[in-house]
Each structure stands twice: as C-alpha cells, then as structure tokens.
Symmetry: C2
Subunit: 128 residues, 2 copies
C-alpha cells in the first residue's frame, strides 16, 4: 500500500526532525544498509547523531516524494549551517542550501536499504 | 497510470541508448526544464548530444525505478569511459562507474521537469 509507506516515510522524517532517536526502530530495519554499508540500527543512529552534531539546525524537508509497494524515493531539501567541515568542505557555519536524492527499499514496512546522493557541488559553489 | 509512465520512461531510456534523438519529442515536453534550466526539447537534445560526444559509450541502465501517476524517480547506473573532462574531472578515457539519482515530473505523458544529482565524488575517487 504505497500511501501507507509514504505516510510511514513522512513519520520517519518527523522522527529525525524531532531527534527522537529512540523511535528509530519503528522505521528502520535492524539490518539497515546505507550506500552499501551494513550499519544496523545502532550504526544508522550513530550516523544521524553525527550529522546533527555537525549540523545542529539540520532539518529534513521533502520536495518530491514518490513510492510504490516497497520503495520510496525522496528529493530532500536542506537549508542549514554546518558548523565545521561537511562532506570534506570547510563550511564553517555558513548557511548552505542543497538537496539529497534518496531511494529507500522497505522490508516488512521498515527501511532496509538506502541509496543516497547529496549535491555536494552545490555546497562547494556556495562557500566559494 | 503508473505502469504506463514507467513503460514510457523505459522507452525514453531506450531512445537515449539508441541515440534516436529525432524520437525525443515523443518523450520530452517542449517546455522541458533540467535542474532549473529551461532547455526546451532542442536544448535538451543538445545537452544529450554533448554528453554522448564526451562519453561515446554512455549507456543508461536502471537500477531502481519507482513512479506514480505523474512522477518517476530513477537510480541510473553508468559504466563508461568519458574521453576528456567530465563534470570538471579529468577522466581522460579511464573507466568509471557512478550513479545518477533523477526525478522526472511528467505533464500530459511527457517529461516536463528533471531534477538530477550525479555522484561526482565517486568518479573523483576512481580517478584518484
């Protein structure tokens, strides 16, 4: 049921935006993989916690969203101020706007595999 | 009808892989935009022709595909040998593998808006 999966996905983003890490197992499969790395929920949580440490005002906003019975694809927009180095770029607290295009394969209603590409070039262009 | 849109999208990729540029108006809206640039079909064709000039063995392969009534999202895989500089990187004929995550908004069954992010960092890592 795609509608449910999209609702689940939006609830997942809301969980991230609330930093409600303890709720992650409601959305993320215990065997979750991210860009080919087998994180597990604990590792996935660690990645998100590091992201938020680097970018305290990180907020996940959906610009485009499409899904079927087992897959969700999202174009996410970010408007934030990474504190120091982000993706190897010395952002140093400047405001940057960029997108992430992410695909999520679900298993039993949980995010099992994530493939994500961030538009790093846009950030590089903004910090000169 | 999502199934039709996905079939149309696969036919569009087949058109690109055959370099059948004259067929583009069957798939691409005359007002097509790509990453915020209003190309039109002629400009879009020009972009594709330049891509193929830079990458003669360019081939669009779908790894993940999801769609609804008006949107398609695709994770595309490339395994090719760009001749010279590609995305500002001096590839110089070396074989590189990378992905593109693209979202397509359709209008009247034609591709109207494309938002694409290419994993440029993967290419940079492969050419050292």
């Amino acid at each position: 049921m795609p509608a449910d999966l999209l609702a689940d996905y939006r609830a997942y983003l809301d969980c991230l935006n609330r930093r409600a890490w303890d709720e992650l197992p409601r959305f993320v499969h215990e065997g979750v993989e991210h860009n080919g790395r087998a994180f597990g929920v604990a590792g996935y949580r660690g990645m998100l916690e590091r992201d938020v440490e680097q970018i305290p005002d990180l907020r996940f906003d959906v610009e485009m969203l499409v899904g079927d019975a087992s897959t969700v694809a999202a174009r996410l927009k970010f408007d934030c101020r990474p504190k120091g180095t982000f993706l190897g770029l010395d952002v140093g607290g400047r405001r940057v706007c960029f997108v992430e295009h992410a695909f999520y394969a679900f298993e039993h209603g949980l995010i099992r595999t994530v493939w994500s590409v961030i538009d790093r070039e846009a950030i590089a262009a903004q910090i000169g």
